[in-house]
């Protein structure tokens, strides 16, 4: 039950190979970027210019010869050699619109099957090393913070929310306790726990103690969340708007060793003015995302950091009366990069005007297996702490072509 109970230092000849492989996986990190609301595949990674469904934007060449992205992604296009694009992702339609579809994508299971943990909590549990830092941080827009995401993994693995990139809640001491006064009260608390733990089971009190330890660390290290401490040059490169700041913050957190960082970029739900929306949103997204990707590579982190660019569903080929596109779960695009991913390729294909998958359909459940496999986790395994629930949907399988 307790995270870190078996530290990485325990690897030895006695450890079974599968366990050793799990420990090996603990060095891995993950960056998830969620384009919230439903990114249009037509205006991004699967352009269909000059067709009845293609919309007004053109396709541009990328750094991978023969692969084209929408012209709304000029910078990301230059990162194509670091990415793998899947153009044939699909899911069954589920009731409940965005939230349910997001759950489907982020848990790999249809939400009608009940609550499952999202990717972040799973990585936090299975990849977290010895770090005192939170295992699962979610940088959210100013509104619409995250919902509980850990399901049966419990609050220990639930994401720490950085609303609009601000430090977590309650990270500032109350006025009555100065830094010195803080030391004294923690010291007294430790004494009480020490006495209580004599001749008693210690698992719970150790877990409780460790939560205060981590809280204290975080209170002292509030600077971790302060993007202003990054070089001014980098702040310029990432841009001063929210998503730019959030990407730079993600770089800072990943560099400090946080296991899983998720950034939500809102909002792509373009039932009206789809083209205007995407021009604007992707205009904000494109440069910081590609800057983050190349920075991670230049810092030597990309090899151990899986990058997952997600959205809950695609958008309809049909252009609706208000120049919008509606929700589409028959096919859309997901982009991966970094750790464990074969870069530079495109998997799957849609037909000429993007109404159907023409080649290699990939279910969101298959993608979910792949997200785990890419960082060295066995997606066929089960959760150990409750009801032996399979980590990933057992009827689905990792997408081998994507794995390096």
């Amino acid at each position: 039950m307790l995270a870190g109970a078996a530290g990485a230092g325990l690897v030895s000849r006695l450890v079974e190979p599968s366990v050793a492989a799990e420990l090996e996986a603990k060095k891995k990190q993950v960056l998830i970027v969620l384009l919230n609301g439903g990114l249009s595949q037509f205006e991004s990674f699967d352009p269909k210019p000059k067709t009845d469904t293609g919309g007004p934007f053109r396709a541009i060449p990328t750094s991978v010869p023969g692969t084209h992205f929408s012209e709304l992604l000029p910078y990301t296009a230059q990162q194509a050699h670091r990415l793998a694009v899947v153009r044939s992702v699909f899911a069954e339609e589920v009731p409940g619109s965005h939230a349910a579809a997001r759950d489907y994508v982020e848990t790999g299971r249809s939400p009608v099957l009940g609550s499952y943990p999202l990717l972040g909590p799973v990585y936090s549990k299975l990849l977290a090393g010895k770090t005192d830092l939170p295992g699962n941080i979610h940088i959210t827009p100013s509104r619409g913070g995250p919902r509980a995401d850990a399901a049966f993994l419990g609050p220990q693995h639930a994401s720490i929310a950085l609303t609009n990139g601000d430090a977590p809640r309650n990270v500032d001491r109350p006025a009555m306790f100065s830094a010195d006064a803080d030391e004294a009260r923690y010291h007294l608390r430790d004494l009480a726990d020490l006495r209580f733990s004599q001749r008693r089971r210690t698992a719970y009190s150790e877990a409780y103690h460790s939560s205060y330890d981590r809280a204290m660390q975080l209170i002292r290290r509030k600077d971790l969340f302060d993007v202003a401490q990054e070089p001014a040059k980098d702040q310029d490169r990432y841009g001063t708007h929210d998503f730019g700041r959030h990407c730079l913050l993600a770089r800072r957190l990943l560099s400090e060793g946080v296991t899983c960082v998720k950034i939500t970029h809102s909002n792509y739900d373009s039932h009206m003015e789809n083209f205007n929306f995407h021009l604007e949103q992707l205009g904000e997204f494109d440069r910081p995302f590609s800057t983050l990707l190349s920075d991670l590579d230049e810092r030597g982190m990309l090899a151990n950091t899986l990058v997952v660019l997600l959205t809950e569903f695609g958008r309809t080929p049909k252009i609706m009366p208000d120049l919008g596109r509606d929700h589409y779960q028959k096919s859309w695009s997901v982009v991966l990069g970094g750790c464990g991913i074969q870069p530079g390729g495109v998997l799957g294909k849609t037909n000429a005007n993007g109404t159907e998958i023409a080649e290699r359909p990939v279910h969101v459940g298959d993608m979910w297996h792949t997200y785990l496999q890419a960082v060295g986790l066995d997606s066929r395994g089960t959760h150990d702490d409750r009801n032996k629930i399979p980590l990933a949907a057992p009827e689905r399988a990792p997408v081998k072509e994507l794995l390096s």
Binding site: A151, Q156, N170, D172, M176, S197, R201, P394
Partner: protein, 580 residues
């Protein structure tokens, strides 16, 4: 073993504060208890296989199993303070007051523990706490949809106040269609799951039968061979016709209707070409016979878009009648295990919803006995709790015997008291009580509701204000919606909240007659230590602890900061955070 006489003696300790419980209703409550008991005496003694009290049998079984855990001894009996805190938290959801600790430890009567258990079981706090416990168990912190939490909790509290048998309670919950205002709250279980069949099947399986069929929804369970796709669909048929129905009242209120469904067709996702069929069935029981009607005559009234569909034979009613009863072994076993886990910190089968042959109970005979006896006592929850609470196993200390490592005493041995984390509601109530801020809270509620025009509005507004404060705790310390409260966990946001949140700081600061204010007025460190420990940890401090307090306060008597540090260190301690 006469419940009536145990309850009769004048209460030797200060009565639990129960302002909402006038004497008349207390008398009514006792009368109900007694009549329930009379019924029990008539029926249960015939069917009970025991020749002595159940709690004695429990201890016999626990003792007999000790060698299995390589144990020769158990922990000693918990001292009075430890017992008082544990049983008060378990049965009423809040720590005892300092006065209650003083009175109980000073009490010399030999049967004071039995009296305490009976007094707590008869209290209104018990009914209200059990309402929370069952709300959390059955609704798993789902947001309100059609029935408000307060209506639902009132309904549950009334049920526990009158000690409604648990089978009857669950029958009502499965049966209520939400039309009759009197039983409408019971329909929350189905209504607030939007009558979604898969959700209902999963949750009825887990919560009422103790089987988690979640992974058997699309195929036989991949790792649990006992859980089959057939079980899932056998249960599914009972519910497949149930649908939401908009009541004609015009305020968008939903009730339930039912279409005629007889069987389910299903195919494994691994083998989609093989179609299987089943009629309604509970796990491995044979499929139920369903009466057939001529086509067009299946309904009480011919269904149309305007009328509510009411079949002549209701499968949901059939489920309500056949599931919660002693003949359904899974039901009595599951419920006995859940109530046991509530007091004992873990189920005989753990996880609670994983009863299957590859996950046997730690004490198979004891679970069988508890299931039988619970059924024999007609699912009388008070009676059942009372027996468990009277057992030595319940009354053991969480301190390992000298020279024995607590880690050598597994949780499932029950040789040592198991820890339970305080749930969000008990944590909130206990923090308020420990820091002496019950009055502060009352004043906060007064202040926030002073605009209310009449008493009814004020009562409602006060409840809403209190809920708002509790919500801060449920959001942080509770499980996420649709998942059960898991084992104790400690998260970073929880620690940051308890360490730094404004709402906690407010209770630490001296005001009115709260603990900090009282301690600030005391001049002797020993008195400060005594008062602080009794109020927060429900026990007196040890000499070492007194010495530590003396050291901390040396030269700082009357210093607010030093007192606040002391109070905080105790409310933030593991001893406070856990029911031990």
């Amino acid at each position: 073993m006469n419940f009536g006489t145990d309850l009769a003696p004048a209460l030797p300790y200060p009565r639990l504060r129960s302002p909402a419980m006038p004497p008349a209703s207390l008398r009514r409550c006792v009368a109900l208890l007694l009549s329930a008991l009379a019924a029990w005496n008539g029926a249960a003694q015939k069917s009970s296989a025991l020749d002595g009290p159940l709690h004695v049998a429990i201890d016999r079984q626990i003792a007999a199993a000790l060698p299995k855990f390589k144990l020769k001894q158990t922990a000693e009996r918990a001292d009075d303070a430890e017992f008082l805190r544990r049983v008060t938290l378990d049965l009423t959801g809040v720590i005892p007051t300092a006065d209650e600790v003083r009175a109980f430890t000073a009490d010399k009567s030999p049967d004071k523990r039995t009296s305490l258990i009976d007094r707590l079981l008869a209290s209104d706090e018990y009914a209200r706490h059990l309402a929370v416990v069952f709300d959390v168990m059955l609704m798993e912190r789902r947001p309100d949809e059609h029935v408000t939490s307060s209506e639902w909790r009132d309904y549950l509290a009334a049920s526990f106040r009158q000690n409604k048998p648990l089978d009857a309670l669950i029958r009502e919950i499965l049966l209520s269609d939400g039309l009759d205002p009197a039983t409408r709250p019971a329909a929350k279980f189905v209504l607030d799951r939007d009558a979604v069949h898969d959700t209902l099947v999963r949750d009825i399986g887990r919560l009422f039968l103790g089987v988690d069929l979640q992974c058997a929804q699309c195929h036989d369970h991949p790792t649990v061979t006992d859980y089959r796709h057939l079980h899932y669909y056998g249960l599914h048929v009972f519910l497949a016709g149930t649908k939401l129905y908009r009541l004609p009242s015009g305020d968008k209120q939903m009730g339930l209707q039912e279409e005629v469904v007889r069987e389910a067709t299903f195919a494994s996702v691994f083998d989609p070409d093989v179609q299987n069929k089943t009629g309604p069935r509970l796990m491995d029981a044979p499929a139920m016979d369903v009466p057939t009607f001529k086509v067009g005559e299946e309904y009480v009234e011919k269904p149309s878009s305007k009328t509510r569909a009411v079949p002549k034979f209701s499968l949901r009613k059939a489920l309500a009648e056949s599931l919660p009863r002693s003949e359904t072994r899974e039901f009595s076993r599951n419920m006995a295990n859940r109530l046991w886990a509530h007091l004992m910190g873990r189920g005989l089968v753990q996880p609670l919803d994983m009863h299957h042959s590859a996950n046997p109970p730690s004490h198979p005979e004891l679970l069988a006995l508890l299931a039988d006896e619970f059924a024999a006592m007609k699912f009388d929850v008070r009676r059942f709790f009372r027996e468990i609470a009277l057992s030595d196993a319940y009354q053991r200390s969480s301190l390992a015997p000298p020279g024995v490592s607590p880690d050598a005493m597994p949780e499932e041995s029950y040789a040592l008291a198991n820890f339970k984390g305080l749930g969000p509601e008990p944590l909130f109530a206990s923090l308020i009580r420990a820091t002496g801020n019950e009055l502060t809270l009352e004043r906060q509620l007064d202040e926030a509701t002073k605009a209310a025009t009449d008493d009814a509005a004020r009562t409602k507004a006060r409840a809403a204000e209190r809920d708002k404060r509790v919500k801060e705790f449920t959001d942080l310390f509770g499980s996420s919606a649709g998942t059960p409260e898991g084992e104790f966990q400690a998260s970073l946001p929880q620690a940051l909240f308890l360490a730094n949140a404004e709402s906690i700081a407010v209770w630490l600061a001296p005001q009115h007659d709260n603990l900090t204010a009282r301690l600030q007025k005391r001049s002797q460190p020993e008195q400060i230590a005594e008062e602080a420990y009794l109020s927060i940890l429900s026990r007196s401090p040890t000499p070492e602890e007194v010495a530590a307090v003396q050291k901390h306060l040396s030269g700082k008597v009357g210093d607010v900061l030093a007192i606040e540090q002391l109070v905080w260190s105790l409310i933030a301690s593991s001893e406070f955070r856990l029911n031990h």
